[in-house]
């Protein structure tokens, strides 16, 4: 599991690549939170490189989004492939974390 981040204007952009399963979350969770929460910026998360999402990955997304929300900022996901999107919809995760179809749409949602 890999992660990188940069900024798009005033928005933090985080790119996740690999499997967000038990092992992948164990590797990336601390780095993911550290890249997003202390910064406190509105954040978009690119899921286009995520090939698998399990409940541990959903937990990571929720806990980080919650911590960011307490700083008054938003997190939006985008780029999910069919399998990852199916899990997101099955878990009804979009009730609390928006999922955009593209990066531009994600940027509009956090603006």
């Amino acid at each position: 599991m890999e992660m990188r981040h940069d900024n798009v204007g005033e928005v933090r952009r985080v790119v996740l690549v690999g499997r967000l399963d038990t092992a992948g979350v164990d590797v990336v969770e601390t780095k993911f939170g550290a890249a997003i929460v202390p910064n406190g910026k509105n954040t978009i998360v690119d899921l286009s490189g995520v090939t698998f999402l399990a409940s541990m990955g959903i937990r990571m997304l929720i806990s980080t989004t919650r911590a960011l929300s307490r700083k008054g900022s938003k997190l939006v996901m985008f780029g999910a492939g069919p399998g990852v999107q199916d899990v997101i919809e099955t878990a009804a995760l979009t009730e609390i974390i928006p999922l955009a179809a593209s990066e531009n749409e994600a940027l509009e949602l956090v603006a």
Binding site: T22, R66, D86
Partner: protein, 163 residues
Amino acid sequence: MANLVQNELCGLRSATVIDGRLELVLNNTLAAIEDGRRRVVEFLSSEPLGEVARHRLEMVFEELVSNIIRHGFTRNSGQSIHVRVARRPGLVEFLFEDDGIPFNPLEAAPPAAFQSIETAKLGGLGIALVTKSSTHLDYERLTPDAGGLGFSPCNRLAVSVAT
């Protein structure tokens, strides 16, 4: 019989294909999730699976093995999980057997619907995903004289996933 492995140190104790079915014995370690998953993916590699079906199959395997090891087993014990995987027309059948504490996922309370990011509960997501992503789910608690795949008493969970 093919693909037999013997390794007590990794997550996979044995993997065997018998009569077209994959039989796995997994050790009580989280490494069993990935070691077992690789065998399941290899076994199903000839199936024309779509992206959603492939993801659901891997998710069901991950969530159930993870749940047994985290919540059903005693840490560092020599307990094991027996998994049988069979291909059927239009679906894949899993059979999970373990000698952990009794747990019937059909009786598990579903997690509360998400209302807000502040109140969202993190527990119970895995079992709920399995329930919603499978076409059939059946649980038995086998008594010592009721069979099983090699040990008893045990939990037996049959799960079917559409392909």
